[in-house]
């Protein structure tokens, strides 16, 4: 899909972090690999510390916390909200849906559209796409887009491929109509034939969770996981980013629709420092405008990675001026996309912590 949206803008961004910080140094002993080998990854991959949600905290808990924070601090009124879109891989239940739970707990009106979208790494771009389309039918309303996951609950602590990089966090983004907003370029690609590269095998209807799916096993690479846990084929994902994602970016910058030097910031999904470093080298992106520091500060929070990167690195700039931004995400699905959008002069932009 390649398209363009018009008359839409982001007016507020909120990041919500769990308070619990876990340090990579303290986790090294959990893995079945030599300590010296594992410690080398600290610098290369950007493993330092990550945020973990409390054991019983869910995405809806964070969403309720964030939306109530916005309402209580008068970022907007309840009656301004036309839709709540939740993009996450972590539903509280199969039914009811996280968006309905959040809207109900926050006391929103019954004419507010509630929509859950199951997407991971590309969740922010998919969520913006959905929000823009809804706003075409909600001329005087705002859409509340909630992104993020508590995937640490689904990753083995003995899996060095995945555990050091995961981070739990949620973002809430407010999107609204604005006739003066510049056109937004959007491109999204999906290849379901490679979906098994990033998978949680058990827990759905195909393979319900059971005592058998909870058994931890070494699947041949020295990492211990259960079928209930995230399984990532790291080499396949790395190659995917170096081929499909790099080519998409090279094409979009080479076909004349945009010049790299025209952008103020490149807010990309945050898998790890090494992968982003190699992607930036291949595409020729400026290192001072492409942030690679989310994993070392918070971990990779899946679909919340792009807005969290923006808030962490550029809060003041997002509040005080207009910024021409290139957003790009890639991962589960497989899916990969890019969006060019001006973000700035926000009414509100903040990072907060909760005890969730």
């Amino acid at each position: 899909m390649i398209t363009q949206f018009s008359g839409k803008k982001i007016s507020a961004m909120l990041g919500i972090l769990p308070q619990l910080v876990s340090n990579f140094d303290d986790e090294v002993g959990n893995y079945s690999f030599p300590t010296q080998q594992t410690m080398r990854l600290k610098k290369v991959m950007g493993y330092k510390q990550h945020r973990l949600a409390a054991q019983n905290s869910t995405v809806s808990d964070f969403g309720i916390y964030g939306l109530n924070y916005m309402l209580q601090n008068q970022w907007m009124k309840k009656e301004d909200i036309g839709a709540v879109v939740v993009v996450s891989l972590c539903p509280d239940f199969f039914v009811p849906h996280n968006s309905n739970i959040i809207a109900g707990k926050c006391g929103l009106n019954c004419d507010v559209i509630c929509l859950d979208v199951a997407q991971g790494c590309c969740g922010f771009l998919i969520g913006l796409m959905q929000s823009f389309m809804l706003l075409d039918h909600l001329p005087n309303k705002k859409v509340v887009l909630i992104n993020g996951d508590v995937l640490s609950h689904k990753i083995s602590k003995k899996d060095r491929n995945d555990y050091p990089l995961v981070g739990d966090a949620i973002t809430v983004t407010v999107i609204e109509n604005d006739d003066d907003a510049k056109p937004i370029y959007y491109e999204m690609h999906m290849d379901g034939s490679r979906g098994n590269s990033l998978k949680i095998p058990a827990g759905g209807f195909r393979m319900p969770s059971s005592s058998e799916t909870a058994v931890m096993k070494d699947l041949g690479d020295g990492n211990f996981r259960a079928l209930d846990h995230v399984h990532m084929e790291g080499s396949e994902i790395f190659n995917f980013v170096q081929t499909d994602v790099a080519q998409m970016l090279l094409n979009v910058f080479e076909n004349g629709s945009a010049k790299i030097e025209d952008f103020d910031y490149f807010f990309f999904h945050q898998p790890n420092r090494f992968m982003l470093q190699k992607l930036s080298e291949k595409v020729g992106l400026p290192k001072d405008k492409l942030f690679m520091n989310l994993v070392e500060n918070y971990g990779n929070p899946s679909g919340a990675s792009i807005p969290l990167t923006a808030i962490h690195n550029c809060r003041e700039s997002l509040l005080t001026k207009n910024n021409h931004c290139c957003l790009s995400a890639f991962g589960s699905g497989l899916a990969w996309g890019v969006m060019f959008m001006d973000i700035g002069n926000l009414n509100y932009c903040e990072m907060i912590e909760s005890n969730l």
Binding site: V44, G222, Q242, E281
Partner: protein, 79 residues
């Protein structure tokens, strides 16, 4: 020190428990996993002042010292 010895030294620093000089294929013999390859890539880049293309970071380019040296020589110099 010649370039091959330099690479052997890096490998030994990376995984001191293995004898790389007596291996015909580091990957098949289990002497390098994917994370070792990532770490070795950054060591090679720093030591030889090159940038290794992401698409070249595949196991077959790391299966022997000759293959690794060829990879370094095919890579772009930095600065």
């Amino acid at each position: 020190m010649d370039e091959k010895e330099k690479i052997f030294e890096m490998l030994t620093e990376l995984r001191p428990e293995f004898d790389y000089k007596n291996s015909q294929n580091f990957i098949e013999d289990g002497l390098l996993d994917s994370f070792d390859i990532v770490s070795l890539t950054t060591m090679l880049e720093e030591s030889f002042k090159v940038t290794i293309d992401g698409m070249s970071i595949v196991p077959e380019n790391y299966e022997s010292v000759d293959a690794i040296l060829a990879l370094v020589k095919d890579s772009k110099s930095v600065g």
